[in-house]
């Protein structure tokens, strides 16, 4: 717990993370404020389009946030602060697990908070109200959709963490992380962002609560697991300069 508390303190102290979080919340406010109810089946649900916009848009602050956090991880190697921990008896495995848990936890917190902000502004400004919530299983669909969306976002964060463990330099990590995102946005490979955009079709056909929808996100799960295993192995095995 104390290692986890340390990691939260470090993230909290980072100016970059603070600014990126503010930018991301501003996007959420804007998305909520400009949203208009329409006849589009996705928008009838009241949440699909804006959230997909957040998830799928390379202009959103989120991937920038993830790259910044991974850069923070890498900067601990650069600055040598990681020596203070390992040199006083902290196990590498404990250090890694605490750090990744904190990064994932803050990521989910920011995502859910911005979701709440977006929803609030939709209700206040665009008039989305309780009547729209009576669609069958609306609550479950929101949970399932956002659960998978979080999974896909965390898979990206995991890739960035792997890059951080590989390069161990903050600027290089930041750039490499953004290059990976841009490669996907320019269709060079099919990853979490493209998968999330493909999820729109399932929303339109009201097929969120189906095994097929879950199967759509399986590559994200694999990316998450493989990236974390790779990052953990690198962190455990490599010398710390």
């Amino acid at each position: 717990m104390r290692l986890f508390a340390n990691e939260l303190c470090k993230i909290k102290a980072s100016r970059s993370v603070k600014w990126i979080t503010i930018i991301f919340f501003c996007f959420a406010v804007l998305a909520g404020a400009v949203w208009k109810k329409g006849a589009n089946p996705v928008e009838i649900y009241g949440f699909g389009a804006p959230f997909l916009w957040i998830l799928g848009s390379g202009a959103s602050g989120f991937f920038l946030y993830a790259a910044v956090v991974a850069g923070l991880f890498a900067s601990e190697f650069e600055s040598g602060v990681i020596h203070n921990a390992l040199g006083c008896g902290v196990r590498r495995s404990s250090y890694f697990i605490a750090k990744v848990t904190a990064i994932f936890g803050v990521t989910v917190l920011i995502y859910l908070s911005s979701l709440g902000v977006l929803f609030l502004f939709k209700c206040r400004i665009a008039g989305f109200g309780p009547a729209e919530l009576i669609f069958a299983d609306y609550g479950r669909k929101v949970l399932v959709f956002n659960g998978w969306a979080i999974c896909s976002l965390l898979s990206y964060v995991a890739v960035y963490i792997f890059i951080a463990c590989l390069f161990r330099e903050s600027v290089l990590t930041f750039i490499a992380s953004l290059v990976v995102t841009l490669c996907e946005l320019f269709h060079l490979f099919r990853g979490p962002v493209r998968i999330a955009i493909d999820a729109v079709a399932f929303i339109e056909r009201d097929r969120i609560l189906t095994p097929e929808f879950a199967a759509l996100f399986m590559p994200c799960v694999w990316i998450l697991v493989i990236s974390l295993i790779g990052a953990y192995t690198l962190f455990l095995v490599q010398d710390i300069d």
Partner: protein, 252 residues
């Protein structure tokens, strides 16, 4: 306990591809020693210290810290502090917050710690700037904060890699006096490295001369004086002669 072995290494080796950075170094540091590790740039001092701290894995050889070895080594490091190369501080945190981070790493309870951490800042001369962010500190102040971090938890053994680098004359003297005080009053065992022999002579009670990864000579401060005297040379010349003769010689 006096004369207890704090650190013992046997044929400790580190190889990077074809290069031997540390070559079968066997040495021991006893409780209360101020052990000076001297060698030219690239001699392997930092690499050796990084292995002792667990930052680099030895390619061969053994190491014991407080009698612990293998998987128990990391646990034994809880009673050790280290300042390796540049002072490692979080620039967006205050000096006190940096020490709080280290306190949590060591598992020290918060309720026991405030006095200790404030005492540490006072010890290193940073009591007035404890609530200021470290990014505004000079190199000398960061070095002192790094030392305070290394001393968190009252370790019995501390490793300092080139601790006076970047410090001015006054800063060097203050650091030296502090380390001597900690050694005499609290029995702190100090293992430090430098390529500045004159600085080392003011502090060390024992010396280890490292050249191209090999420990070519170990002697006490008195033995150094006794060896230099009859030859009519100073310590620096003695060391240079050691390097010149190092081709076929290992530590006896």
């Amino acid at each position: 306990m006096k004369n207890e072995d704090i650190l013992t290494t046997r044929n400790l080796t580190k190889k990077y591809r074809k290069e031997l950075a540390v070559d079968q170094v066997s040495m021991s540091i006893k409780s209360g020693d101020i052990y000076g590790f001297i060698g030219e740039n690239g001699a392997g001092k930092t690499t050796f210290m990084r292995m002792v701290c667990g930052l680099a894995r030895p390619s061969a050889g053994e190491m014991e810290l407080y009698g612990a070895s293998g998987k128990e080594l990391q646990k034994a490091r809880k009673n050790m502090g280290a300042l390796i190369e540049n002072p490692a501080v979080y620039p967006n945190m205050t000096a006190m917050e940096n020490l709080e981070v280290q306190r949590r790493y060591l598992g020290i309870e918060r309720k026991d710690s405030e006095e200790m951490l404030e005492g540490l800042l006072e010890l290193v001369g940073l009591a007035d700037v404890g609530r200021k962010k470290a990014r505004n500190f000079s190199l000398g102040m960061k070095q002192r904060l790094g030392l305070a971090i290394a001393l968190t938890g009252n370790p019995r053994f501390i490793i300092l890699d080139e601790p006076t680098i970047g410090l001015d004359l006054v800063g060097k003297a203050e650091l030296r006096n502090l380390l001597i005080k900690l050694n005499r009053e609290k029995g702190l065992t100090i293992f430090f490295s430098s390529h500045d022999l004159s600085e080392m002579q003011r502090l060390a009670t024992r010396y280890g001369f490292l050249h191209k990864g090999r420990l070519i000579k170990e002697l006490t401060a008195q033995e150094l004086e006794q060896e230099c005297g009859p030859q009519g040379i100073d310590a620096e010349q003695y060391f240079l002669n050691l390097i010149l003769n190092a081709g076929g010689e290992r530590k006896k």
